[in-house]
Symmetry: C2
Subunit: 394 residues, 2 copies
């Protein structure tokens, strides 16, 4: 009959989405300003005006070429613009022939996993991690191997990663700036990871690809994000303009297969990416937005708004006595739950109309994720609720 | 190392795409007006002005809600508009809860196949058939079972379909108006198919889903297209606005899970569709185009232009002595090759700068597909080349 795995994934939406749906109902019931919805990573910063202006200008062009099929790997001008931008900003020389335009980061990761793994392989993820990794890796027929990040600073535990690698390990997913914690892995931390991967590849005789999931690369507060392809050659960068240009619903991103890889291997990996995109039903990335990206590839992100929210939220919660990890990037605050059971804590928070995601969804216990891509008013107005929540535990 | 199936699909693009790429090179070499490119189904009819106007008007809205994530199954206003349009035009009562917005028909079919099949199942296709069906069914772990359509009129051979059904058959793909032949299956033909499927389900005790791939439903010349869900309950309609509104690069379509299905089963199938979309990496269909579709769901297609092309092409080739199947829908002409080997015939045609796709790609021998979604000038100017090609065989 129907496929039970698909049914399970369809009938059990993610905890994040469930909380978001609850929030929508609750807002209808008691008013939107009474509910403090910190569930979803839907950017509140408006799409930059220059993107809107570019879209309007594009709509003046001949519609049959504007909306026509692009090649499967993307419009050539877009791929050139993306490669130029990568080369300009980072210490690599990117070729347009290494850029495959996708229908957003979820597609980038699904495609990359399908391209570099076989059913039965193992994929390493660093907990806490974005829960959909499990869905996409399982769909590729792979087993997810969770490795905890370091308990003090949530950096990559390269020793634990080394121990987790087996001859079946085909890829490791690294997400920096990190969702849900907001950490940015240091260059030193990534160099150690690269060393471990190199060493283990020698031992097992099996390549290990690094899937660098970096939709938050531009949302960073205190330091620059090291560019992974310049540290480890076997890297596939999975990027999206969802967060940097506030276009999450438009589904536009790319896979960049690092040019630092051995040339012959690079070309094979790139063709496998093309094949995986085809097999998963992606014909091309949305044409209008591909053309907009070609012209907006260097438009700066609205980090200032998130920095303001970050300050409001951390100062507010700090004054109330909450413990959290100081976020260096992305727009999430990782806060210690006030009881061992984060799910129970998230449920308790609902009583005060606070919607915060329990860490269990991300593969660890005892924390909650607060998305601060919301209006500053939401943060300010939520403080009495956070205070009442704190009091409820005293 | 890398996944060899994905590599194979990436390194061996479809014959259609190969011919298209050859055409682009050839046009560069000798001039675009000297090459008669009938390879691809890229609509030449411009996107209707009302769609462009709608997109422009939408861009005046608040960008964070315009470009934000929609629910995975689609924007509620869009789903309502699609359901209303289905109910208005066809003899069914469609619910918005049965509409799942997709990233185009390729996504619709990939998702539907994953939702209703298990690895090891068999999927029946009616030859000649769109070659990507094989890629998507294989990706779902299924075996493709080809059943030839009737040799006289290319209608569904329901007797042969009955013989091909086994307890492993989970779905049959039906594509009407048909790519590549242009046939529209009659209501009687579909009723016979439904009878066969009902009978076989009783025998095997296993449901068989009908995946109705109908991106050409609006491109029809001589008759109306019977609506499959009103004939067979276990139907998933896979639709796209690529052809009807000339938006192929924008990737916008839907799956409609027929409300004629048993309610409990319907809801399970719909959730499996949601789960399959999630597993394949689709987060939501492009948000801007979802909102445009909500307002343009009843915009008529530019059939008149295709009808003019069809007349020019069929009259021209008829006068030259070519044999073909009179197309009732879509924008393809199915022409008898002038030698047994259609690939050799297509190669010979290249000598006259005619780019026509050999039928081998579609699972049958001895024919070629001519896409007439081109300018009328291309058709008129190609006639001397078709004449020369004919002479070369005399």
């Amino acid at each position: 009959m129907i496929n039970e795995s698909m049914y399970a994934w369809g009938s059990e939406p993610s905890a994040i989405r469930q909380l978001f749906a609850y929030g929508l109902e609750r807002k209808k019931a008691i008013g939107a300003d009474k509910v403090f919805d910190f569930s979803l990573g839907n950017p509140n910063v408006p799409t930059p005006q220059v993107v809107t202006d570019t879209l309007k200008a594009l709509l003046e062009r001949s519609p049959e070429t504007l909306h026509g099929y692009t090649p499967a790997q993307g419009d050539s001008a877009t791929r050139q613009a993306v490669a130029n931008e990568i080369s300009k900003r980072f210490e690599v020389k990117a070729s347009p022939d290494s850029v495959y335009m996708t229908v957003g980061a979820a597609a980038s990761i699904s495609i990359s996993l399908a391209a570099v793994s076989h059913p039965g392989d193992e994929i390493i993820v660093n907990a806490p991690y974005f829960p959909e990794y499990r869905v996409w890796a399982t769909q590729a027929g792979c087993k997810v191997v969770e490795v905890a990040t370091k308990s003090d600073d949530f950096s990559l535990d390269t020793k634990a990663i080394a121990d987790a690698i087996t001859p079946k390990t085909s890829a490791i997913i690294v997400n920096s700036p990190n969702n849900p914690v907001g950490t940015v892995y240091s260059k030193q931390n990534l160099i150690e990871l690269a060393r471990v991967l190199e060493q283990k590849q020698k031992e097992t005789g099996h390549p290990i690809y690094l899937i660098s999931d970096e939709p938050y690369r531009e949302i960073v507060y205190t330091e620059t994000v090291p560019y992974v392809p310049s540290i480890y050659a076997r890297t596939l960068v999975c990027y999206s303009y969802s967060k940097s240009l506030s276009l999450p619903g438009e589904r536009i991103g790319y896979v960049y297969v690092s040019d630092e890889m051995d040339k012959e291997e690079h070309d094979k990996v790139f063709l496998a990416v093309c094949g995986a995109g085809r097999a998963l039903g992606y014909v091309c990335a949305p044409a209008l937005f591909q053309k907009a990206i070609a012209e907006c590839v260097n438009v700066p992100s609205g980090v200032a708004a998130y920095a303001k929210n970050r300050k409001l939220l951390t100062e507010g919660l700090s004054a109330l006595g909450y413990e959290y990890i100081e976020p260096k990037g992305a727009f999430y605050l990782w806060v210690k739950a006030l009881e061992d059971d984060a799910k129970a804590f998230s449920e308790k928070a609902k009583q005060f109309e606070l919607l915060i995601v329990p860490s269990d969804s991300f593969g660890v216990k005892g924390w909650v994720r607060i998305s601060y891509c919301v209006s500053p008013e939401t943060i300010v107005n939520s403080m009495p609720a956070f205070e009442a929540l704190m009091k409820a535990y005293r």
